[in-house]
Amino acid sequence: MTLAATDPEDITAVTEEGTATAAPPARAHWFRRLLRDRAAALALFTLTLIILGALFAPLLAPFDPASNSRSIMTPPAWSSMGEPQHLLGTDGQGRDILSRLLYGTRLTLLIGFVAVGIGGAIGSLIGLLSAFYARLDPWVMRGVDVLLSFPAILLGLALVAVMGQGITPVIIALAVSSVPDCARIARGIAVGVMKQEFIEAGRAVGLSDLALFNRYLLRNCISSIMIFISLRFGQVVLIGATLSFLGLGARPPAAELGMMASQGREFLLFAPHIAVIPSVLIFVIVLSANVAGDALRDVLDPRLQA
């Protein structure tokens, strides 16, 4: 092969083909293999349904999530005391629980997505740079270890103490606490890619660091990194909902699942459904995310099993 004669663009094509054939053939069908795991398939299906419900909350919700009705603490429609127009009953202020649930899921998922997105992006960049510039590596990883010594809840508490209650400090705390994990994952994947021959080839043809990083390293890592970062989603959602349950995250009148569970606490004795329904939904979301995530990891890379 006359590498020296071709221009860098062509090398990208060659190497991309090269890695495609070098990758294990199973990877092409990973999604089908994932669906063969019945628990994972069910989890993915549930998660998709919940995400769709949250996306189309304004269309699906029968009532305004913040408007009160005269029937307070109505049990779900299937019980003898229930009212047919309030399928899951009403809460302590007479708000329709189904509508609040749809909007609440929207906010809970949004907090999770944004936090994992930001934390994942920053963490991956740190991890990739650490693998790319070997000289930086020990320092960066030391810093990551320091960050790792702040539990997410603690960080959340600290930030809320400074910024006041709200969604923004919760998202920042969740994002920051995702950074060290994501940095480690990205570094692990990138170190493997950096050992490949095409990186050396790229250096040999005199590519700039930026081009090498962008075209060779990033492109070959990005999909694996994104999949592994998505594994964090369940935990981030759980911590976010917990912070809101403590009254530190979302503020009324917004609907958020953790906050809804917390508001239902007062009525636990005579209207347990108000607290139980949102709690169960959080459980189902996190469980589905975790089950799907575990299966995904097993399918893609059995070595990373914890």
Binding site: V146, S149, F150, P151, A152, I153, L154, L157, A158, V160, A161, V162, M163, G164, Q165, G234, Q235, L238, I239, A241, T242, F245, L246, G247, L248, G258, A261, S262, R265, L268, L269, P272, A275, V276, S279, V280, I282, F283, V286, L287, A289, N290, V291, D294, Q305, A306
Partner: protein, 312 residues
């Protein structure tokens, strides 16, 4: 050995400084003028100025940070903005209950988790293994506030067996022991899953090793092979991983204490944040971070004692 411990101690100094800097910045970043918050809304400008001078807020930031480090070294964290008690005394009263709650939840959940994980590893691929793994994923996915609410509902209200509000006394008194039951049960429940999972993978790893094959070849019974040659060696990583769960336990404690009105650090910090008592909030966050660092330090040292391979 000593070398490892000293290295590890030195390594925790920058982390400690980082935590202190963080705590200092926390108070710097508080919206509004801390002097005005302390003085109250009706104070005259003269009083605010006087308080600012007393608090040293008129000096350069670096000088303030140094003064802050000096105060911290003397254990002076200021006074609560609400109760006017010293932060140290507020924290001091809350540490005991939190430690008691954490230990009480570890004491029953870790052995159960280890037993479940070992059983799952030995019976790998069987129904029992799948049940344990399923339970442990479910356990990690359960919001701890939901567990607590269910326990209150069923073991506190429907069958009023256990009290679920406050801490009437320390654990060795009968009332204190009963009151500890539900919070320790709910906090321990979230730990079983991770512990079982770690034990399973650690035991699986060890059972593959040569010495286990030798033990089997010697004709030892399977129970002896698993317990003496497998589990004993597998427990070393499990101990480390339990240390890494300290943050998880800490977060769980914050929630459990709030729900059960347990007078510990978690409830203190949430209450302080919700009532804008910045000095107490900062002190509690610092103490939590300090506790976390200390636990990890102890675990690392323990690890080097238990595992001869780590010693240099």
């Amino acid at each position: 050995m000593l070398r490892t411990i000293i290295d590890r101690l030195l390594l925790s100094i920058p982390v400690l400084l980082g935590v202190l800097l963080f705590g200092f910045l926390l108070l710097q970043l508080v919206p509004g003028d801390p002097a005005r918050v302390v003085a109250g809304p009706t104070a005259t400008p003269e009083i605010v100025a006087q308080i600012r001078q007393e608090m040293g807020l008129d000096r350069p930031v670096l000088v303030q940070f140094w003064a802050y480090l000096e105060r911290m070294a003397q254990g002076d964290m200021g006074r609560s903005m609400i109760s006017n008690k010293t932060v140290t005394s507020e924290l001091g009263a809350a540490v005991g209950p939190t430690v008691e709650l954490m230990l009480a939840s570890l004491v029953w959940s870790v052995p159960i988790g280890i037993a479940m994980g070992t059983a799952a590893a030995v019976l790998r691929g069987s129904l029992a293994d799948r049940v344990v793994m399923g339970l442990s994923v479910a356990g990690v996915s359960l919001p701890i506030f939901f567990i607590s609410l269910l326990l209150i509902q069923y073991l506190g209200v429907v069958w009023p067996i256990f009290p679920f509000i406050g801490r009437p006394g320390p654990w060795y008194t009968p009332e204190g022991f009963m009151a500890l039951f539900l919070p320790a049960l709910s906090l321990g429940l979230i730990l079983i899953g991770p512990v079982a999972r770690m034990t399973r993978s650690s035991v699986l790893e060890v059972l593959k090793l040569d010495h286990v094959r030798t033990a089997r070849a010697k004709g030892l019974s399977e129970i002896r092979v698993v317990l003496k040659h497998g589990l004993r060696n597998a427990l070393i990583p499990v101990i480390t991983l339990i240390g890494l769960q300290a943050g998880y336990l800490l977060g769980g404690a914050v929630v459990t204490e709030t729900i059960f009105s347990w007078p510990g650090l978690g409830r203190l910090v949430v209450g302080a944040i919700l009532s804008s008592d910045f000095t107490v909030a900062q002190g509690a966050v610092l103490l939590f971070a300090l506790g976390f660092i200390t636990i990890n330090l102890i675990i690392d040292i323990l690890y080097s004692i238990l595992d001869p391979r780590v010693r240099k």
